[in-house]
Symmetry: none
Subunit: 212 residues, 4 copies
């Protein structure tokens, strides 16, 4: 029997901070910055409200901390996407698919960004950390486009930034605006079937554009 060491338990301080951060993310995602309530965050985290201020200063700073973690998470996920190992067509499909599923699996990302954009990115602007977290996707996409072009598969002159924003757009908007879209169209756009059709369309759209 191996010498079992005790499970490396988090120090309470770290644990408390993580619990708060997680609760705050849920609350901010559900209600937006203005609608979020510090009291509810404390309830969700099952800690004393005072502790939130002890660790995070105030509501604004807490929101920023949540944003920073959110961006750190997506950047980490993006890093794991190795488009350079795929053939160009497959890479485009994968990029769309990854983006789509990331947003689908992380509705809090969308909600937080909407709230932050409503406030003119005022929190984000204060964070050097986030601004230094460059997404690797644009560079990856540029490389893919270049390879596709050399293979005479892709058209010339595609701006990778514009394309990346467009891919993000079609994934993000469908999910972000799903409640109003579903209401206006009078049908549920979040059924598994609808989601599958959407993903299919987006791949077609992007490939239809890049392919010669």
């Amino acid at each position: 029997m191996p010498a079992t060491s005790p499970a490396p338990r988090l120090r309470d301080a770290d644990k408390s901070q993580l619990v708060i951060l997680s609760a705050a993310m849920d609350e901010f995602a559900q209600y937006g910055y203005a609608g979020a309530r510090v009291d509810r965050i404390a309830e969700r985290a099952e800690i004393n409200k005072r502790l939130i201020y002890y660790y995070f200063g105030n509501k604004d700073d807490l929101f920023l901390a949540v944003l920073e973690r959110t961006y750190a998470d997506i950047r980490a996920a993006e890093q794991a996407l190795h488009l350079d190992e795929m053939d160009p067509v497959e890479a485009i499909r994968q990029l769309v698919s990854f983006t789509w599923h990331y947003y689908l699996d992380h509705p809090e990302f969308i909600a937080l960004l909407n709230s932050e954009n409503l406030h003119q990115a005022e929190h984000l602007k204060q964070s050097d950390r986030i601004q230094e977290m460059n997404s690797p996707l644009v560079a990856m996409l540029a490389e893919v486009l270049e390879r596709g072009r050399k293979q005479d598969l892709f058209r010339d002159g595609i701006d990778p930034i514009q394309l990346y924003i467009s891919i993000a757009s079609v994934c993000y908007f469908y999910l972000s605006n799903n409640p109003t879209l579903s209401t206006v169209f009078g049908r549920d756009l979040r059924t598994p079937k609808a989601l599958a059709q959407r993903l299919s369309h987006m791949k077609d759209l992007m490939l239809g554009y890049v392919l010669k």
Copy 2:
């Protein structure tokens, strides 16, 4: 009895309601539903706060009234777009251009929709009026796609709803998320040049997709 009749003017009541509605739209667009303040709406409208409750009941109903007007406005603008009179390629370009410029000229539309989507479209669901205001664009686009297909210009099997959502997506997301995008990319994406490039890209994207 003199011939002069008073210039046809709005009754005070109607005028007050319009003024309130306009002020509320600005406030809700700037701060979102939760961040908006009834007091500030009264200040913006330069009327007594009590009047807001007299005419609109409460904050929720006021928000709904603003939403209804916002949808009525965009539906009216859409009605004026006669894609059926254009050749298919031009019609696609026009649809993208119209959508883009409408969002660009009506930032409150984006802000209000984001806020409403954060709240799961709860106000919208209560409004039969809005749900009856069907956008004519999907039907217009379907007709254009059919014409393009018949002229052997456009590919087969394009879902007009998906395409319409994609067009809306690329326009909406770029503007809606401009503050965070500009911050993350470290450059201003709202310069005239950037906006022109974006429009050009979006037209290329959509045409690249629909054209055979």
Copy 3:
């Protein structure tokens, strides 16, 4: 029977403001700025706490309003003191006596000033109103000193500002620091006898100085 008009009742708004101001003065005088509680002010005034903010904005502005009223009160009392109609010796006695009794009858004046001085007169500096309320006493005293000198009663070269400050000093300090003085000296310095002796001493002190 004369046409009786209803007693000119204050409008509720004015009445509320006065009630709040009066309660705030008591609270600030008793506890100082930092120790004062807005809740207690509301209780004292028997009004809703919210009303305090409705009329006065915040705690700082309320404190300033109290200070302004306090200065207005003392300036009004000073105006009623006509030293120019008294013979110089009597005028000095009256000035000491007036100052003494004003402080004795208005302990809140002393308490408020102590609190304000602790905070480097930060509220006062913001008030143009108070800075425009010049005390007439220095000018009155200058006139008295000049008359006394012409009558060959008073010595030459007395600075009226210094003397005025000294008169204020001896009156103010004895009352302001009475609790610690009484404790340190081990006897009650606020008995009627002690107060009378103090007033007598101060008159002697000032006359002993000004008389040739």
Copy 4:
């Protein structure tokens, strides 16, 4: 055994207590009792907040400890003043000068006393220590007055307690109320010139009174 002994140094415990006391004095002097923050005292002292409670019990007791030290300091300074070795006129001048400079050099003394007086000397009353620290100045002054009277220099019947309080008054008030006085008079009463003029006036005032 080597001859070198460690430099005599304070034990950590004593050192911590002194550091805390000093930090507390600064904090209480700057903000008064109610405005002072235990957290800030810990920051100023660069020690853990818990230590304050370990050594001093609570905020009230800490304030009392500060007061006791403050009184001990001034009593020690007073002891060093040997008025009995001076001729009576010079002794009066010296007493005024000493009082003035002590207050000028120890603004915390004034601030602490103002705060304590606001609270009706409630801390002071609990301290037997302070009440046993009698000021030697009254006795010294009595002796000087008696000597002056015997030399036929000073007038008869001067109460040394009243005079001592008056001397303290004129020094204390000018400094304590300097912020409001400067604001109300519209000029800086703390310039070197203003301070020198004040001291000169106070000496003249006291000598003008005591001299026959």
